[in-house]
């Protein structure tokens, strides 16, 4: 419909990576792209937020300080409940991952910005880091016994030939499911907003009000999803860590 009026919509255009500074090291393309720019912005925002809000170090926290303390306690409690006291060591890692995903999701909600987490490369790297860390922690703590993760106790022996391959596959599929979940959520949400935005333009002032109200609702939903996906990413990392530390059973 919109195309007939000469309006051309490209819902995927917002995810295109452009090179801002061309760089080439030994045949490898390491250009500084808009994706890298927004990653730098995200990290700078996190550092700014945490240092500025904690500058007062007041006994009775002010507004900004309580937000920073709230996010600290949120992750600390998540680790305590899901991993136990052993999980405290991994707090900096989980906290960094959570804040990075949360801030890039929220920054992506600002119009004309680039959503870092809508790139499968970024989320897959994060998920692979979690996966490798969990595997190394499990092997260091349990050595050869770590393999019992793939053979749940209390299962009849004749079920083992079926169950062990399933457990192995479900273990190695973790980085894929973890990364695709985050990436698909962000990409689908932003593409949907763009499509509805094109409806508003295409239907002009007499018909655009209906999709406009949808956009308001969808934007609210997207803010919820932005937080939820960071939460889900962090809590699943905690659960995987728990598997490796306590060998689930």
């Amino acid at each position: 419909m919109a195309a007939e009026q000469g309006l051309h919509i490209e819902p995927m255009h917002q995810f295109v990576i452009t090179r801002l500074v061309e760089m080439n090291v030994g045949g490898v393309d390491v250009s500084f792209t808009n994706s890298s720019l927004f990653m730098v912005i995200v990290v700078a925002l996190i550092i700014l937020f945490l240092t500025v809000s904690m500058r007062g170090r007041a006994m009775v926290p002010g507004r900004m300080q309580s937000v920073a303390e709230l996010s600290y306690e949120f992750i600390a409690n998540m680790l305590k409940e899901n991993v136990g006291s052993e999980g405290r060591k991994y707090f900096p890692f989980i906290f960094s991952v959570f804040m990075f995903v949360l801030f890039s999701n929220l920054l992506g909600m600002v119009p004309y910005t680039f959503t870092v987490t809508s790139q499968i490369v970024v989320t897959f790297t994060l998920a692979l880091t979690v996966f490798i860390l969990v595997t190394i922690v499990g092997i260091i703590r349990h050595g050869f016994k770590f393999l019992t993760l793939f053979a749940p106790s209390g299962v009849p022996i004749f079920l083992m030939p079926i169950l062990v391959p399933i457990e192995v596959i479900s273990y190695f599929v973790r980085p894929i499911s973890l990364s695709v979940r985050l990436f698909a959520n962000m990409m689908a949400g932003h593409a949907l907003l763009k499509v509805f935005g094109a409806f508003v333009v295409g239907l002009s002032w007499w018909g655009g009000w209906l999709p406009l109200t949808f956009i308001v609702g969808l934007t609210g939903l997207e803010f919820l999803v932005a937080f939820l996906q960071a939460y889900v990413f962090a809590i699943l990392s905690c659960l995987y860590l728990n598997d490796a530390i306590n060998l689930h059973h």
Binding site: S177, V180, R181, A184, N185, A188, L224, V225, L228, Q229, Y231, V232, I235
Partner: protein, 74 residues
């Protein structure tokens, strides 16, 4: 051209996953509402789990979307 038609049909078939996701989402919120009507005091405690279940179920729909996109464009 037949491959192109098969692609379209395949992408359409991939959306059948939405049936399961719809069932799952309805189940999550239905159980939450009936549970919280029986025991309103416990409702705020499980709401976090409801949102977690919502996000995990919604992700299944998006896996289907990714499969459809792969069929169509890769």
């Amino acid at each position: 051209m037949e491959v192109e038609a098969a692609r379209m049909i395949g992408a359409g078939l991939a959306t059948i996953a939405l049936a399961g996701v719809g069932l799952g989402l309805g189940n999550i919120f239905g159980s939450y509402i009936s549970g919280s009507l029986r025991n309103p005091a416990a409702a705020p405690k499980v709401f976090g789990n409801v949102l977690l279940g919502f996000a995990l179920t919604e992700a299944v729909a998006l896996f289907a979307m990714v499969i459809a996109l792969i069929i169509l464009f890769v």
